[in-house]
């Protein structure tokens, strides 16, 4: 964010917006005004967000997990993830050395959960960003162009909304072969539709606003209208949608991995649970093999959901309700 090019003199006004246009020689550029307005909007957003305790908890959990994941190479030894380097015995229960016990070849569960976070989060976030990007594109196009193209796009959107997403994602991964890339692709392709619907409705309401009519009258092209006027207004909504989308992407990734469609070369929370299931951890009673990765999924998904809901509440005051 760039600072306003000519800040208002101290003690006179509290910002460039307070200066009546044309009344003073201190002309602030349109860009500076825009940025000042966005900064103010962001500050407002944060002030509202801060009031939602659930959203703050979610944010805190995410910050902790992000830190633990990013710093993993500093305090753990990745080489111990390989079966040949397994430091422990088979299916050891939790102890001082292995807080969460060991798996069927003696590797630390805790270590796997920490490193699994990298894969699960990466797939979840990338897939969600792709899905939301695709959904935004489709939604904006459907709203902007109208006519049969819009009809066709929305028909397609509804088709994707209705379809069982996991079944479709499985079919895609089976057909394309399991790898990190195909899993991301499959999740993105099966989860963009909700965002498209949301974005379409919002775009239509934004396009009805007077300043867009003015922009059109001044000869603004489609691209200019979309990138300069519609998209900035959609951004908060898209962000909230993406946050919620990460939750379901992580869940889908875990389900795919559990069904044996995970990337075979890496460890993710879903693949840990798959191995636990097939290694007979259930009948062995090895609860330590299943609880940590499951709780990790639960915590991350819940945290993203809480953040997304808090953002939605800020954006849609009607959800806030009267105390």
């Amino acid at each position: 964010m760039s600072a306003p090019s000519t800040p208002a003199p101290p003690g006179e006004t509290d910002g460039p917006r307070a200066t009546p246009p044309g009344s003073a020689p201190r002309l602030t550029s349109a860009r500076a005004i825009t940025w000042a307005r966005r900064r103010k909007a962001l500050a407002d957003f944060w002030r509202q967000y801060r009031r939602q305790s659930a959203g703050l908890v979610g944010l805190g959990v995410l910050a902790f997990i992000a830190l633990a994941t990013l710093l993993a190479p500093l305090y753990t030894d990745e080489s111990q993830l390989r079966a040949v380097n397994a430091p422990g015995e088979r299916l050891e229960s939790p102890s001082g050395e292995f807080w969460f016990g060991t798996d069927e070849v003696g590797r630390s569960i805790l270590l796997q959960v920490i490193w699994g976070a990298r894969v699960s989060l990466q797939i979840g976030i990338v897939a969600a960003v792709l899905a939301v990007g695709l959904g935004t594109l489709v939604g904006m196009m459907a709203a902007h162009y109208g006519g049969w193209a819009s009809w066709l796009l929305m028909r397609l959107t509804d088709w994707f909304i209705v379809l069982p997403s996991l079944v479709l994602a499985i079919a895609l991964v089976v057909a394309l072969g399991a790898s990190r890339f195909t899993i991301i692709l499959a999740i993105a392709l099966t989860s963009w539709a909700g965002t498209a619907r949301l974005v379409r409705a919002q775009t239509m309401s934004i396009e009805g606003r007077p300043y867009l009519e003015r922009a059109r009258a001044l000869g603004a092209g489609h691209w200019h209208q979309m990138s300069r006027h519609v998209l900035p207004n959609l951004m908060p909504l898209i962000l909230a949608s993406a946050t919620l989308q990460v939750s379901s992407a992580i869940l889908t990734e875990a389900s795919l991995s559990f069904l044996g469609l995970g990337d075979p070369s890496t460890v993710s929370w879903g693949t840990i649970l798959e191995r636990a299931f097939h290694a007979g951890a259930i009948s062995y009673g090895a609860w330590w093999y299943m609880l940590p990765p499951g709780f990790a999924i639960l915590a991350v998904v819940l945290a993203f959901t809480l953040c997304g809901r808090a953002m939605e509440t800020v954006l849609n005051p009607r959800l806030r309700g009267a105390r």
């Binding site: 028909r155 088709w159 379901s248 869940l251 559990f258 009673g285 499951g294 819940l302």
Partner: protein, 361 residues
């Protein structure tokens, strides 16, 4: 796992149901009952919409499994390397050496004549496999749905009615946690607690192999005993979605004047909720629940896998491991087709339920 419950509610700002074309075409502004002709027009629109969706499913199945779907010959052969002549023989049998257009017409013909091919694994007709497993899935999903819908709508309505109360907060928290837990993990935990540790319920399967009498009642009780854990596990996630949906529907209704009128008439608070708020809130809920229908299959797939419940989900899982392309293709079309038809029925049902015939869209 399905559609975001929270994202869905604001995701339907234009009133709702499955198809936008249909929505816009059936909006009635005048305060009059729509004519019979309008109804047939509506029915026709919904029906043709569903048919187009189904055709799209057929195209997708062909595209996924025949064009990008790897090498079926290798899938049949498994790990044993095939001689070129064996390979040619299999290709000939599957019609793989024909051009794609011919293969496509062949595919359409087989779909229309209900000749869906045989399983790679045991040469059984895949339709027979599906029909054999279908009742088991219906039993499991039906039970789970009844539990989830009944309980979810009830709790959701109460939670939304008392917004801000401790009850609402705890129920929403529980639902969010249940929704955030992976279904299969929930199943694993449930098994380890109730079957392995406490020994209250069987670990998996649908029937005991021995020790059960032959009569109808002992058999049914045995199935019911096996059903408890999978049904509850599957219900948990759907329940969470229904609580959240019903709660937001009630919240939408809460500010309405007719509720103040009902209160002013001297009705008790819970009667106002049951008699006035819930029937109105159920209308959007029907649509949202229909949209979530696909998520039920997602849940069935994971639950049946964990509990080895011999239904379509387990069949799908077994087919993935091979991969058994004809079976996967049939199950894909079946799952997708069922959700499309269920959504069409929900749209039509909605039309009967709402006397306004969506005049407020």
């Amino acid at each position: 796992m399905g559609i975001q419950p929270t994202a869905q509610v604001p995701a339907l700002p234009d009133g709702g149901a499955g198809t936008p074309g249909g929505d816009e075409a059936t909006v009635h502004q005048q305060p009059f009952t729509p004519s019979r002709r309008d109804f047939w027009r509506f029915l026709g629109l919904k029906f043709s919409g569903a048919v187009i969706s189904l055709v799209l499913v057929l195209f997708t199945a062909f595209f996924i499994f025949r064009i990008i779907g790897g090498d079926p010959v290798k899938a049949i052969g498994g790990d044993t390397p095939l001689t070129p002549s064996q390979r040619a023989e299999i290709e000939e049998r599957l019609g793989l050496n024909e051009p794609l257009t011919v293969q496509f017409w062949e595919y359409i013909r087989s779909v229309l004549t209900l000749d869906w091919g045989t399983s790679y694994v045991n040469n059984q007709q895949v339709t027979d496999l599906l029909l054999a497993r279908l009742p088991n899935t219906l039993l499991l999903t039906g039970t789970a749905l009844v539990i989830a819908a009944g309980l979810g709508i009830w709790i959701g309505a109460r939670a939304g009615w008392r917004q801000g109360s401790r009850f609402e907060k705890s129920q929403v928290g529980l639902s969010l946690a249940l929704w955030s837990a992976p279904t299969f993990w929930l199943g694993m935990i449930v098994i380890i607690i109730f079957s392995v540790q406490l020994g209250l319920f069987p670990v998996n399967g649908m029937r005991s192999t021995r020790g059960v009498g032959d009569g109808f009642w002992p058999q049914s009780l045995d199935v019911a005993h096996h059903l408890v854990l999978p049904a509850l596990t599957m219900a948990a996630v759907i329940y969470a979605q229904y609580v959240l949906i019903m709660r937001s529907s009630i919240l939408e209704e809460r500010g309405n004047d007719y509720l103040t009128v009902a209160k002013a008439k001297g009705l008790r608070d819970d009667v106002v909720r049951r008699r006035h708020a819930v029937p109105n809130a159920l209308l959007p809920t029907v649509t949202l629940i229909a949209l979530q229908f696909g998520a039920i299959f997602n849940g069935a797939l994971l639950t049946e896998t964990i509990f080895s419940w011999p239904g379509l989900g387990l069949l799908f899982y077994e087919a993935i491991r091979v991969p058994d392309i004809p079976l996967l293709q049939l199950l894909f079309i079946f799952f997708a087709g069922t959700t499309i038809i269920a959504n069409m029925l929900a749209d039509i049902l909605y039309r009967f339920l709402d006397p306004r015939v969506r005049s407020s869209a």
